[in-house]
């Protein structure tokens, strides 16, 4: 429980639709509370977290949630080069700025500059989900690990220790967690950003481990 409480500031991770801000102690008036509305999620691809330094934003999401916020819904061209600022959904005051562009050659919307910093900082891996939401004029970004998993004899040279705990903590009973939650959770550990079930536990084949490790 203590743990759960301590994790609260991250509680909004994965931002479900409508988590309230300022979820401090005061259950008081709802007036100055601003709802954090979910905009969209994307399960990131290997390219999204690879060396291309860009996140392809599904067109539907971009046109529905981002374009309207830019220049009053101006043309695609006008939106190229916009810089969007997203606060870290875990709180803490950190924020991320991403350049949002439209690549005409591929008719796709992308987050470019700034994206790779987020990927690194959050240890985002293919299969994880990145989640965007909004509270009034403020934008938020968060991510959650892909739930899945297998085992791990964890020979991880690059073990990203911090990543492990949050997930385990997530398994803790907690209130108000977002609904779009991760898959089955049971005993699991995380390896390279991938959650692994420990159930019947067989060692992960080395080649798979390596494949998972490659950024």
């Amino acid at each position: 429980m203590a743990l759960t409480a301590a994790r609260e500031s991250r509680g909004a991770e994965g931002g479900g639709g409508g988590v309230e801000l300022s979820r401090g102690g005061n259950g008081g008036n709802g007036e100055e509370r601003i709802k954090r509305e979910h905009m969209f999620d994307k399960v990131v691809t290997p390219s999204d977290v690879g060396k291309l330094n860009r996140l392809v934003v599904p067109k539907q999401f971009a046109e529905r949630h981002i374009l309207p916020r830019l220049l009053g819904g101006a043309a695609k061209a006008a939106c190229s080069g916009a810089v969007l600022r997203f606060e870290d959904g875990r709180g803490g005051g950190r924020a991320w700025a991403f350049r949002f562009s439209y690549w005409g050659s591929s008719q796709s919307y992308v987050m470019t500059k700034g994206w790779s910093a987020f990927v690194r900082d959050r240890r985002l891996a293919a299969g994880d989900t990145v989640s965007f939401c909004r509270a009034g004029a403020r934008l938020f970004i968060d991510c959650r690990r892909r739930g899945a998993g297998i085992v791990a004899s964890a020979p991880m040279t690059r073990l990203l220790v911090p990543a492990i705990v949050p997930q385990v903590v997530t398994l803790m009973p907690q209130q108000s967690t977002s609904s779009d939650e991760r898959a089955a959770r049971g005993r699991c550990v995380r390896l390279f950003g991938v959650d692994l079930e420990l159930a019947g536990a067989e060692p992960l084949p080395l080649d798979l481990q390596l494949a998972l490790m490659r950024r």
Copy 2:
């Protein structure tokens, strides 16, 4: 002497600080003599001679030698787009125009438009040195093949001593050949702007050559 005279037009190549133009026989009046001052050299990288069609001008060189000539040393931004005209250092009246720009995103100065023509014409290859000098208001460009060798343990990857030797080359016997191929000529080679006497002249070991080539 005739040879020396023949070299005159190129004599200033690599321009030491203050090689005189029109250094005929007359020790006469120094009035119309204009010194050709060396500005800077750069050992070109594969990118500089590749398909990127641009020469990255080391910031130090740009700010010291080029910016002051533009707009009275105006701001970086103001210098973007300037076109600089460089006469061919070998003489012959040919000249090259390069667009000189500042790329704010990478904080680097570049020669763009016109540069690739020079690369092609002079068959510039990675490891060669391009040399810029000036005589009054006139700018000159020249290049020299990546030379082979040294004996010295040359720890100085950034040694800029063009002032020393250019004269040496000037002294070398040669007819007015097209010149740019004077790799090791006589017992003197030039390495990165520094001419080195090759007394017992042996080829530089390849690994040392490579090590030296890396900027």
